[in-house]
Protein backbone atom coordinates (compact mmCIF):
# COMPACT_ATOMS: atom_id res chain seq x y z
CA UNK A 1 0.00 0.00 0.00
CA UNK A 2 1.97 3.02 1.14
CA UNK A 3 5.13 1.21 0.04
CA UNK A 4 3.94 0.97 -3.54
CA UNK A 5 3.93 4.72 -3.94
CA UNK A 6 7.13 5.22 -2.04
CA UNK A 7 10.38 5.89 -3.84
CA UNK A 8 12.30 4.24 -1.03
CA UNK A 9 12.65 0.49 -1.03
CA UNK A 10 11.33 -1.65 1.78
CA UNK A 11 9.86 1.25 3.67
CA UNK A 12 7.46 -0.08 6.26
CA UNK A 13 4.32 1.81 7.04
CA UNK A 14 3.88 2.88 10.62
CA UNK A 15 0.51 1.09 10.35
CA UNK A 16 2.32 -2.25 10.47
CA UNK A 17 4.45 -1.45 13.48
CA UNK A 18 3.91 -2.60 17.04
CA UNK A 19 3.98 0.70 18.91
CA UNK A 20 3.71 2.01 22.44
CA UNK A 21 3.68 5.37 24.13
CA UNK A 22 7.22 6.24 25.16
CA UNK A 23 7.52 5.54 28.90
CA UNK A 24 8.74 9.11 29.47
CA UNK A 25 5.62 10.59 27.88
CA UNK A 26 2.68 11.93 29.86
CA UNK A 27 -0.74 12.73 28.38
CA UNK A 28 -2.88 15.53 29.76
CA UNK A 29 -6.52 15.55 28.65
CA UNK A 30 -7.73 18.83 27.11
CA UNK A 31 -11.01 19.82 25.46
CA UNK A 32 -9.52 19.34 21.96
CA UNK A 33 -7.80 16.03 22.71
CA UNK A 34 -4.65 15.96 24.80
CA UNK A 35 -1.25 17.42 25.34
CA UNK A 36 1.61 14.97 25.18
CA UNK A 37 4.86 15.85 26.87
CA UNK A 38 8.10 13.92 26.55
CA UNK A 39 10.13 14.43 29.71
CA UNK A 40 13.26 13.18 27.97
CA UNK A 41 13.46 15.30 24.82
CA UNK A 42 11.16 18.03 26.23
CA UNK A 43 8.88 17.92 23.23
CA UNK A 44 5.33 19.12 23.70
CA UNK A 45 2.90 17.77 21.14
CA UNK A 46 -0.79 18.39 20.61
CA UNK A 47 -2.98 15.36 20.00
CA UNK A 48 -5.67 17.23 18.17
CA UNK A 49 -8.52 14.77 18.41
CA UNK A 50 -9.90 12.58 21.16
CA UNK A 51 -9.71 9.55 18.85
CA UNK A 52 -5.96 10.15 18.57
CA UNK A 53 -5.71 10.07 22.35
CA UNK A 54 -7.74 6.90 22.56
CA UNK A 55 -5.59 5.15 19.96
CA UNK A 56 -2.36 6.36 21.59
CA UNK A 57 -3.45 5.03 24.95
CA UNK A 58 -4.23 1.56 23.57
CA UNK A 59 -1.27 1.08 21.22
CA UNK A 60 0.58 -1.34 23.45
CA UNK A 61 -2.37 -3.73 23.65
CA UNK A 62 -2.41 -4.66 19.96
CA UNK A 63 0.12 -6.15 17.54
CA UNK A 64 0.15 -3.12 15.22
CA UNK A 65 -1.16 0.39 14.75
CA UNK A 66 -3.68 -0.86 12.20
CA UNK A 67 -4.96 -3.44 14.69
CA UNK A 68 -5.29 -0.69 17.29
CA UNK A 69 -7.19 1.53 14.83
CA UNK A 70 -9.56 -1.34 14.08
CA UNK A 71 -10.04 -2.09 17.77
CA UNK A 72 -10.77 1.58 18.47
CA UNK A 73 -13.40 1.61 15.71
CA UNK A 74 -11.61 4.16 13.54
CA UNK A 75 -13.22 4.13 10.09
CA UNK A 76 -10.73 2.90 7.42
CA UNK A 77 -11.19 6.08 5.39
CA UNK A 78 -9.58 7.97 8.27
CA UNK A 79 -6.57 5.64 8.52
CA UNK A 80 -4.31 7.65 6.18
CA UNK A 81 -4.58 10.67 8.47
CA UNK A 82 -3.78 8.50 11.49
CA UNK A 83 -0.86 6.97 9.61
CA UNK A 84 0.53 10.42 8.97
CA UNK A 85 -0.06 11.60 12.53
CA UNK A 86 1.54 8.57 14.15
CA UNK A 87 4.53 8.71 11.80
CA UNK A 88 5.05 12.23 13.10
CA UNK A 89 4.60 11.09 16.73
CA UNK A 90 7.15 8.36 16.13
CA UNK A 91 9.58 10.90 14.72
CA UNK A 92 9.30 13.04 17.84
CA UNK A 93 9.59 9.86 19.97
CA UNK A 94 6.20 10.38 21.62
CA UNK A 95 5.48 6.81 20.48
CA UNK A 96 8.08 4.17 19.74
CA UNK A 97 8.38 0.62 18.46
CA UNK A 98 8.23 -2.01 21.12
Amino acid sequence: MACAASTENQQTSVLDLALELHPQVALRPEPFGALAYHYGNRRLVFLKHRDMVNVAEHLAEYPSLSATLAACNIAPMRWPSFEKAFASLQKSEIVRER
Binding site: A26, R28, P29, E30, P31, F32, G33, L35, Y37, Y39, R42, L44, F46, K48, H49
Partner: protein
Protein backbone atom coordinates in the same frame (compact mmCIF):
# COMPACT_ATOMS: atom_id res chain seq x y z
CA UNK B 1 -7.34 19.77 12.97
CA UNK B 2 -5.40 22.54 11.28
CA UNK B 3 -2.90 24.76 13.06
CA UNK B 4 -5.37 27.64 12.80
CA UNK B 5 -8.14 25.71 14.50
CA UNK B 6 -5.72 24.55 17.19
CA UNK B 7 -4.77 28.16 17.87
CA UNK B 8 -8.47 29.03 17.98
CA UNK B 9 -8.91 26.30 20.60
CA UNK B 10 -5.94 27.46 22.64
CA UNK B 11 -7.27 31.00 22.71
CA UNK B 12 -10.27 29.76 24.66
CA UNK B 13 -7.89 28.50 27.31
CA UNK B 14 -6.59 25.19 28.58
CA UNK B 15 -7.47 23.26 31.73
CA UNK B 16 -4.04 24.20 33.07
CA UNK B 17 -1.23 26.35 31.72
CA UNK B 18 1.31 24.86 29.30
CA UNK B 19 3.90 27.40 30.14
CA UNK B 20 3.95 28.66 33.67
CA UNK B 21 6.60 31.08 34.81
CA UNK B 22 7.33 31.29 38.49
CA UNK B 23 9.56 34.08 39.68
CA UNK B 24 10.85 32.62 42.95
CA UNK B 25 12.24 35.82 44.40
CA UNK B 26 12.60 39.52 43.69
CA UNK B 27 16.07 39.37 45.21
CA UNK B 28 18.89 39.66 42.72
CA UNK B 29 22.61 40.28 42.73
CA UNK B 30 22.26 42.19 39.47
CA UNK B 31 20.22 45.24 38.45
CA UNK B 32 19.67 44.74 34.72
CA UNK B 33 18.28 47.89 33.21
CA UNK B 34 15.58 45.96 31.31
CA UNK B 35 14.53 43.66 34.19
CA UNK B 36 10.91 42.82 33.50
CA UNK B 37 10.16 42.30 37.20
CA UNK B 38 12.10 45.34 38.51
CA UNK B 39 13.98 42.95 40.76
CA UNK B 40 16.68 43.71 43.27
CA UNK B 41 15.45 43.44 46.83
CA UNK B 42 13.74 40.47 48.40
CA UNK B 43 10.08 41.04 49.22
CA UNK B 44 9.37 40.15 52.87
CA UNK B 45 6.06 38.63 51.79
CA UNK B 46 7.86 36.03 49.65
CA UNK B 47 6.25 32.57 49.64
CA UNK B 48 7.70 30.27 52.28
CA UNK B 49 9.16 26.88 51.42
CA UNK B 50 6.00 25.18 52.68
CA UNK B 51 3.76 27.48 50.62
CA UNK B 52 5.88 26.93 47.53
CA UNK B 53 5.61 23.17 47.97
CA UNK B 54 1.84 23.44 48.25
CA UNK B 55 1.78 25.26 44.94
CA UNK B 56 3.92 22.50 43.41
CA UNK B 57 1.46 19.90 44.75
CA UNK B 58 -1.31 21.77 42.97
CA UNK B 59 0.64 21.99 39.73
CA UNK B 60 1.26 18.25 39.95
CA UNK B 61 -2.48 17.63 40.29
CA UNK B 62 -3.11 19.91 37.30
CA UNK B 63 -0.51 17.93 35.30
CA UNK B 64 1.61 20.94 34.54
CA UNK B 65 4.55 19.25 32.79
CA UNK B 66 7.19 21.82 33.58
CA UNK B 67 7.68 25.24 35.08
CA UNK B 68 9.95 28.09 34.12
CA UNK B 69 11.64 29.38 37.23
CA UNK B 70 13.07 32.85 37.28
CA UNK B 71 13.36 35.90 39.49
CA UNK B 72 15.19 37.93 40.48
CA UNK B 73 17.96 35.42 40.72
CA UNK B 74 16.28 32.18 41.78
CA UNK B 75 19.49 30.67 43.14
CA UNK B 76 19.54 33.38 45.81
CA UNK B 77 16.79 31.49 47.62
CA UNK B 78 18.28 29.20 50.24
CA UNK B 79 15.68 26.55 49.48
CA UNK B 80 16.37 26.70 45.74
CA UNK B 81 17.65 23.13 45.44
CA UNK B 82 15.02 21.86 47.86
CA UNK B 83 12.24 23.31 45.71
CA UNK B 84 13.78 22.09 42.47
CA UNK B 85 14.16 18.58 43.89
CA UNK B 86 10.59 18.65 45.16
CA UNK B 87 9.25 19.83 41.83
CA UNK B 88 11.05 17.16 39.83
CA UNK B 89 9.95 14.57 42.37
CA UNK B 90 6.39 15.58 41.60
CA UNK B 91 6.89 15.11 37.83
CA UNK B 92 7.17 18.81 37.15
CA UNK B 93 10.25 19.46 35.05
CA UNK B 94 12.17 22.63 35.83
CA UNK B 95 13.63 25.13 33.42
CA UNK B 96 15.31 27.94 35.25
CA UNK B 97 16.79 31.24 34.23
CA UNK B 98 19.86 32.48 36.00
CA UNK B 99 22.60 35.03 35.59
CA UNK B 100 25.02 32.27 36.55
CA UNK B 101 26.62 34.04 39.50
CA UNK B 102 25.96 31.16 41.88
CA UNK B 103 26.93 28.29 39.60
CA UNK B 104 30.34 27.23 40.80
CA UNK B 105 32.04 23.92 39.97
CA UNK B 106 30.30 22.04 42.76
CA UNK B 107 26.82 23.40 42.02
CA UNK B 108 27.34 22.70 38.33
CA UNK B 109 27.97 19.04 39.16
CA UNK B 110 24.88 18.96 41.36
CA UNK B 111 22.77 20.49 38.60
CA UNK B 112 24.24 18.11 36.01
CA UNK B 113 23.20 15.13 38.13
CA UNK B 114 19.50 16.13 38.00
CA UNK B 115 17.04 14.84 35.44
CA UNK B 116 14.35 17.02 33.92
CA UNK B 117 16.26 20.18 34.66
CA UNK B 118 17.10 22.78 32.03
CA UNK B 119 19.18 25.88 32.61
CA UNK B 120 19.12 29.18 30.77
CA UNK B 121 22.04 31.49 31.31
CA UNK B 122 21.20 35.06 30.42
CA UNK B 123 23.64 36.91 28.22
CA UNK B 124 22.77 40.12 26.39
CA UNK B 125 26.03 40.86 24.66
CA UNK B 126 28.72 38.85 22.95
CA UNK B 127 31.36 40.89 24.72
CA UNK B 128 31.58 42.46 28.17
CA UNK B 129 31.07 45.97 26.86
CA UNK B 130 27.74 45.19 25.17
CA UNK B 131 26.51 42.84 27.87
CA UNK B 132 27.53 44.79 30.94
CA UNK B 133 25.95 48.00 29.65
CA UNK B 134 22.60 46.25 30.16
CA UNK B 135 23.25 43.65 32.84
CA UNK B 136 25.84 45.42 34.97
CA UNK B 137 29.59 45.46 35.45
CA UNK B 138 31.09 41.98 35.78
CA UNK B 139 27.95 40.17 34.66
CA UNK B 140 29.49 38.99 31.39
CA UNK B 141 32.29 37.23 33.24
CA UNK B 142 29.82 35.67 35.70
CA UNK B 143 27.75 34.24 32.87
CA UNK B 144 30.71 32.90 30.90
CA UNK B 145 32.23 31.36 34.05
CA UNK B 146 28.94 29.59 34.78
CA UNK B 147 28.90 28.24 31.21
CA UNK B 148 32.43 26.92 31.66
CA UNK B 149 31.42 25.19 34.89
CA UNK B 150 28.37 23.61 33.28
CA UNK B 151 30.43 22.42 30.33
CA UNK B 152 33.11 21.01 32.65
CA UNK B 153 30.43 19.19 34.64
CA UNK B 154 28.99 17.66 31.43
CA UNK B 155 25.64 19.26 32.07
CA UNK B 156 24.71 18.73 28.43
CA UNK B 157 22.90 21.23 26.24
CA UNK B 158 22.14 24.19 28.48
CA UNK B 159 20.60 27.28 26.94
CA UNK B 160 22.03 30.69 26.36
CA UNK B 161 19.22 33.22 26.60
CA UNK B 162 19.53 36.53 24.82
CA UNK B 163 17.15 39.47 24.89
CA UNK B 164 17.52 41.08 21.48
CA UNK B 165 18.28 44.79 21.65
CA UNK B 166 19.39 47.52 19.31
CA UNK B 167 22.94 46.94 20.49
CA UNK B 168 23.28 43.17 20.16
CA UNK B 169 21.21 42.49 17.06
CA UNK B 170 24.35 42.37 14.91
CA UNK B 171 25.80 39.72 17.23
CA UNK B 172 23.16 37.06 16.57
CA UNK B 173 25.51 34.95 14.44
CA UNK B 174 28.12 35.25 17.16
CA UNK B 175 25.66 34.13 19.85
CA UNK B 176 24.76 31.12 17.73
CA UNK B 177 28.44 30.25 17.30
CA UNK B 178 29.02 30.64 21.03
CA UNK B 179 26.11 28.33 21.82
CA UNK B 180 27.36 25.81 19.26
CA UNK B 181 30.83 25.90 20.80
CA UNK B 182 29.35 24.66 24.09
CA UNK B 183 26.91 22.26 22.45
CA UNK B 184 24.33 24.60 23.96
CA UNK B 185 21.04 25.86 22.54
CA UNK B 186 20.51 29.49 21.68
CA UNK B 187 17.32 31.13 22.84
CA UNK B 188 16.51 34.68 21.77
CA UNK B 189 13.55 36.62 23.06
CA UNK B 190 11.89 39.90 22.48
CA UNK B 191 12.64 42.94 24.64
CA UNK B 192 9.51 44.14 26.44
CA UNK B 193 8.92 47.57 27.99
CA UNK B 194 8.08 45.85 31.29
CA UNK B 195 9.51 46.49 34.75
CA UNK B 196 12.63 48.60 34.51
CA UNK B 197 12.40 47.96 30.78
CA UNK B 198 9.67 50.62 30.73
CA UNK B 199 12.36 53.23 31.31
CA UNK B 200 14.94 51.84 28.90
CA UNK B 201 12.84 50.39 26.08
CA UNK B 202 13.10 53.57 24.03
CA UNK B 203 16.89 53.27 23.91
CA UNK B 204 17.14 49.50 23.67
CA UNK B 205 14.41 48.26 21.40
CA UNK B 206 15.41 47.30 17.86
CA UNK B 207 14.82 49.81 15.07
CA UNK B 208 12.41 49.01 12.25
CA UNK B 209 15.28 48.00 9.98
CA UNK B 210 16.66 45.75 12.71
CA UNK B 211 13.28 44.10 13.15
CA UNK B 212 13.38 42.96 9.54
CA UNK B 213 16.92 41.75 10.16
CA UNK B 214 15.75 39.71 13.19
CA UNK B 215 12.84 38.30 11.21
CA UNK B 216 15.04 37.15 8.35
CA UNK B 217 17.63 35.73 10.70
CA UNK B 218 15.02 33.75 12.63
CA UNK B 219 13.29 32.57 9.47
CA UNK B 220 16.59 31.21 8.14
CA UNK B 221 17.38 29.41 11.42
CA UNK B 222 13.97 27.72 11.72
CA UNK B 223 13.61 25.59 14.81
CA UNK B 224 17.33 25.49 15.58
CA UNK B 225 16.96 28.68 17.60
CA UNK B 226 14.43 28.87 20.43
CA UNK B 227 12.31 32.00 20.79
CA UNK B 228 9.55 31.20 23.26
CA UNK B 229 7.37 32.14 20.28
CA UNK B 230 7.94 35.72 21.37
CA UNK B 231 8.44 37.33 17.95
CA UNK B 232 5.05 36.62 16.42
CA UNK B 233 4.50 40.35 15.77
CA UNK B 234 7.18 39.95 13.06
CA UNK B 235 4.99 37.51 11.14
CA UNK B 236 3.45 40.56 9.46
CA UNK B 237 6.59 40.61 7.29
CA UNK B 238 5.31 37.54 5.47
CA UNK B 239 5.99 33.86 6.07
CA UNK B 240 5.22 32.82 9.64
CA UNK B 241 8.05 32.05 12.06
CA UNK B 242 7.95 28.64 13.75
CA UNK B 243 5.78 28.34 16.86
CA UNK B 244 2.33 29.30 18.03
CA UNK B 245 1.25 32.58 16.55
CA UNK B 246 -0.77 33.97 19.41
CA UNK B 247 -0.64 35.82 22.70
CA UNK B 248 -0.91 33.13 25.36
CA UNK B 249 -1.54 35.44 28.32
CA UNK B 250 -4.07 33.88 30.70
CA UNK B 251 -4.87 31.28 28.03
CA UNK B 252 -1.87 28.96 27.96
CA UNK B 253 0.62 31.08 29.92
CA UNK B 254 0.71 32.82 33.27
CA UNK B 255 3.06 34.09 35.94
CA UNK B 256 3.27 33.37 39.65
CA UNK B 257 5.30 36.13 41.26
CA UNK B 258 7.48 35.71 44.39
CA UNK B 259 4.67 36.68 46.78
CA UNK B 260 2.20 34.32 45.11
CA UNK B 261 0.29 36.79 42.98
CA UNK B 262 -0.83 35.38 39.65
CA UNK B 263 -0.51 37.55 36.54
CA UNK B 264 -1.57 36.91 32.95
CA UNK B 265 2.02 36.67 31.73
CA UNK B 266 5.57 37.39 32.92
CA UNK B 267 5.56 40.75 31.18
CA UNK B 268 2.55 42.32 32.85
CA UNK B 269 3.31 42.70 36.54
CA UNK B 270 0.62 45.33 37.03
CA UNK B 271 -2.63 45.38 39.02
CA UNK B 272 -4.66 45.48 35.83
CA UNK B 273 -3.38 42.02 34.89
CA UNK B 274 -3.40 40.45 38.34
CA UNK B 275 -5.82 37.54 38.45
CA UNK B 276 -5.48 36.59 42.11
CA UNK B 277 -3.07 34.89 44.47
CA UNK B 278 -2.05 31.31 45.19
CA UNK B 279 -2.73 32.26 48.82
CA UNK B 280 -6.45 32.82 48.08
CA UNK B 281 -9.04 30.14 48.87
CA UNK B 282 -8.95 27.59 46.09
CA UNK B 283 -5.28 28.30 45.43
CA UNK B 284 -3.72 28.59 41.99
CA UNK B 285 -6.19 26.22 40.43
CA UNK B 286 -9.15 28.44 41.17
CA UNK B 287 -7.34 31.53 39.90
CA UNK B 288 -6.49 29.76 36.64
CA UNK B 289 -9.95 28.36 36.12
CA UNK B 290 -12.23 31.07 37.49
CA UNK B 291 -10.59 34.47 37.75
CA UNK B 292 -12.66 37.06 35.87
CA UNK B 293 -9.51 38.42 34.21
CA UNK B 294 -8.48 35.07 32.74
CA UNK B 295 -12.03 34.26 31.66
CA UNK B 296 -12.17 37.61 29.90
CA UNK B 297 -8.85 36.99 28.13
CA UNK B 298 -10.25 33.70 26.84
CA UNK B 299 -13.14 35.48 25.14
CA UNK B 300 -12.73 36.48 21.48
CA UNK B 301 -10.60 39.63 21.34
CA UNK B 302 -11.41 42.59 19.17
CA UNK B 303 -8.95 43.48 16.42
CA UNK B 304 -9.87 47.11 17.09
CA UNK B 305 -7.82 49.59 15.10
CA UNK B 306 -6.01 46.67 13.40
CA UNK B 307 -9.20 45.23 11.91
CA UNK B 308 -8.70 46.91 8.55
CA UNK B 309 -5.04 45.86 8.25
CA UNK B 310 -4.33 42.94 5.95
CA UNK B 311 -1.68 41.61 8.31
CA UNK B 312 -3.82 41.15 11.40
CA UNK B 313 -4.18 37.42 10.91
CA UNK B 314 -0.41 37.17 10.66
CA UNK B 315 0.61 39.21 13.69
CA UNK B 316 -2.56 39.17 15.85
CA UNK B 317 -1.94 42.81 16.76
CA UNK B 318 1.22 41.85 18.65
CA UNK B 319 2.03 41.79 22.35
CA UNK B 320 -0.42 42.99 25.00
CA UNK B 321 2.36 43.88 27.45
CA UNK B 322 4.30 45.87 24.87
CA UNK B 323 1.21 47.94 24.11
CA UNK B 324 0.23 48.42 27.72
CA UNK B 325 3.54 49.71 29.03
CA UNK B 326 4.07 52.04 26.09
CA UNK B 327 0.66 53.58 26.78
CA UNK B 328 -0.98 52.25 23.62
CA UNK B 329 -4.55 50.92 23.46
CA UNK B 330 -4.69 47.15 23.81
CA UNK B 331 -6.92 46.77 20.76
CA UNK B 332 -4.53 48.59 18.46
CA UNK B 333 -1.15 47.92 16.90
CA UNK B 334 1.96 46.76 18.75
CA UNK B 335 4.52 49.56 19.38
CA UNK B 336 6.86 47.63 17.09
CA UNK B 337 4.24 47.04 14.39
CA UNK B 338 6.35 46.31 11.33
CA UNK B 339 4.02 48.41 9.20
CA UNK B 340 4.64 51.38 11.45
CA UNK B 341 0.95 51.59 12.37
CA UNK B 342 1.77 52.57 15.96
CA UNK B 343 4.46 55.12 15.20
CA UNK B 344 2.18 58.16 15.12
CA UNK B 345 0.28 57.23 18.32
CA UNK B 346 3.53 56.39 20.06
CA UNK B 347 4.81 59.88 19.36
CA UNK B 348 1.70 61.36 20.92
CA UNK B 349 1.65 59.27 24.08
CA UNK B 350 3.35 61.06 26.87
CA UNK B 351 5.88 58.84 28.60
CA UNK B 352 4.56 60.18 31.88
CA UNK B 353 1.07 58.89 31.12
CA UNK B 354 2.15 55.35 30.25
CA UNK B 355 1.31 52.92 33.07
CA UNK B 356 4.08 52.14 35.51
CA UNK B 357 4.68 48.70 37.00
CA UNK B 358 2.70 48.28 40.23
CA UNK B 359 5.70 47.14 42.21
CA UNK B 360 9.34 48.08 42.17
CA UNK B 361 11.93 45.99 44.02
CA UNK B 362 14.92 47.83 42.60
CA UNK B 363 17.69 48.42 45.06
CA UNK B 364 17.90 52.00 46.27
CA UNK B 365 20.37 54.00 44.26
CA UNK B 366 23.72 54.14 45.94
CA UNK B 367 26.55 56.53 45.63
CA UNK B 368 29.12 54.77 43.47
CA UNK B 369 31.53 53.07 45.84
CA UNK B 370 35.19 52.74 45.09
CA UNK B 371 36.03 49.44 43.39
CA UNK B 372 36.61 46.77 45.98
CA UNK B 373 39.89 44.85 46.10
Amino acid sequence: MSVESLVAQLKTGLDAPICLTWELTYACNLQCIHCLSSSGQRDPRELTTAEAKRVLDELHDLQVFYINIGGGEPMVRRDFFELVDYSIGRDIGVKFSTNGAFIDAQKARRLAAMDYLDIQISLDGLDAVTNDAVRGVGSYDLARTAMEHLAAADFGPFKISVVVTRHNVDQLDGFKALADSYGAQLRVTRLRPSGRGADTWGDLHPTNAQQRQIYQWLLARGETVLTGDSFFHLNAFGEALPGLNMCGAGRVVCLIDPIGDVYACPFVIHDQFKAGSVRDDGGFSRVWKQSPLFLELREPQSAGACASCGSYDACQGGCMAAKFFTGLPLDGPDPECVRGAADETLRQVSVVLAPKPSMDHSKPRQVQLAQRR
